[in-house]
Structures are given as structure tokens and as C-alpha cells.
Symmetry: C2
Subunit: 156 residues, 2 copies
């Protein structure tokens, strides 16, 4: 992982569909070694995949909810059951294990408040061990970046 790798990552985060030729020019390599680096980054799991960046509102899902979850007991059994359930719920885009007050933070995408209510009733409340749910809604988005703050100043 030297400076060139970070440059490649940055460029592919900005445009994951650019051709290897374009990419190689931008990072100052010839196509072959550039492609080799990309493949290595993919195999190493640094690049996990590629995805289309889609506007949720245009797809009928304009409402983002952030949900803080507290479990009633902190046993392995409860935690694993919760996490397994979370992975199976499509409305939950992200789930983080948090420090501090609550145990988990969920990012949930729904059509509207009614959809969120339905999500809570038919999904969250059916999970065993959920003690508290604290919801916050996003009215809008100021920024949504796919590019990491990688320090490109130094190499190695």
C-alpha cells in the first residue's frame, strides 16, 4: 500500500467505472501495472466491490432514519441474535456497533413516516432483546461523499 495504491483507491472511489486506461493516466502508470495493482487491491479485500451511487429520493425512499438501539442484556446470545436479524432486514442499510450510550446505530431507508412505523413494528420489534429504540430523521443531505480522506502526501 504505497502512494500509488492510495491514488488508485481515490480515483476508483470518485469513478468506479472509469477504464483502466484512464485510471493509469491519472495515477501516472502504464495500463498493465495499474491493472495489476487494482486486482491486488481487490484480492486483498481493500476494494470490496463496485456499486452504483443512487439517489434515494428518486427511488421513492426519501426518508433516512438513524436508529439507536439498546439491548436489554449484553450477552453473546442476544447480540448475535440481533446482528443476525439485522443482516436479514433490507431496510437497514448500515449497522454499527457503538460505544457509549446505545449499543448499535442503524441507518434505515424508508419511503415515509408510515413506512418507518411499519418497519419498526414488523421488523425491529420482532427482534428479541431490543430494549430501547431512539429514532432521528434526516430532512436532507448536505454532503454525501464516497471518497476517503486518504493522506496522499507520503508514500509506503
Amino acid at each position: 500500500m504505497d502512494k500509488k495504491d492510495y491514488q488508485i483507491i481515490r480515483e476508483l472511489q470518485k469513478d468506479g467505472r472509469q477504464t483502466n486506461q484512464e485510471l493509469s493516466e491519472r495515477v501516472g502508470l502504464s495500463p498493465s501495472p495499474c491493472l495489476r495493482r487494482v486486482k491486488n487491491l481487490e484480492k486483498a479485500g481493500v476494494i470490496r466491490g463496485y456499486s452504483a451511487v443512487v439517489d434515494p429520493g428518486e427511488c421513492g425512499l426519501p426518508t433516512t432514519a438513524f436508529v439507536r438501539i439498546t439491548l436489554d442484556r449484553h450477552t453473546e446470545e442476544v447480540a448475535q441474535g440481533f446482528e443476525e436479524a439485522v443482516r436479514g432486514i433490507d431496510e437497514i442499510l448500515d449497522c454499527y456497533v457503538m460505544s457509549g450510550g446505545s449499543d448499535y446505530l442503524l441507518r434505515v431507508l424508508v419511503a415515509d413516516l408510515k413506512g418507518y412505523e411499519r418497519f419498526v413494528r414488523t421488523r425491529l420489534h420482532r427482534i428479541k432483546g431490543v430494549a430501547a429504540i431512539d429514532s432521528g430523521f434526516a430532512y436532507g443531505t448536505v454532503k454525501q461523499s464516497t471518497v476517503f480522506p486518504l493522506s496522499l502526501g507520503m508514500d509506503s
Copy 2:
């Protein structure tokens, strides 16, 4: 935006680099109309772009912080200044306008707690109008999905 469009979006969220040929087979179209639909979705802004999905930890940024921001005054001037500043700070990946207790929610990516402290000191505190900062740290990730919960059961 019919059922086929949603299928295309779903497939391109799962793999944004698949060939138009693969995509057309998966959604049950021939390549030409499939490509036209993709281009239309791009022009309409439904598909905003394509990005590599990268593991933050592998890039030396294993720490995700969620920061709740409250502004001291709720004037247009303060809000616009804050939002403009946010857009220029690379460590802030996402910024949502929130309802309820706090005004904004930031998703911040840093190397460690020291990096976060530096971020707060040299970035957040230099923004005018920030009254309160409430930070929460993510220890780990249970789920991180790029696929929206699109209802593919109906068309139109």
C-alpha cells in the same frame, strides 16, 4: 421508472462494474434497451455515479465517528456557513440535516482517537456557529449495504 428500472438499479448497486451484457440478462432485456435505460437513469440523476466500495480499516481509517451538531443560532447565514464548511472538510463523509434534538449528523472517518481530536480541534471548532458537539464512535460494523430496499413486487 418501472419494475425493470428498479431491477437495473438493484443490480448496479450490487455490482456497478458488471457489463451491460450481464446486466441485460439479469433483468431480462436485450443489451440495447438495457443500455438505454441505464443511460436514461444516469441523465435523470437517479444514478449519480459509480464508486469503488473500500474497506476503511485497510486504508488506515478504522475509526468511524458519528457527530451530532447543534448550531447556536438558526439563521440562514449560520446554516449556510456551516454547510459550506462541511462540504470542504474531507474527513466528513456524510452530513445530514436532522430533525429533533440536534441540527446535523456527521459521519466522520479518522485513523484513531488522536486523529478525531485533531479533526475536532482543527476543523469543527473553526466553523462559526457550532454550539454543541456530541460524538459517538463505532467499534465495528455489523452490516454495510449498498442495495436499497426497493419494492420490486409492482411496476410503474
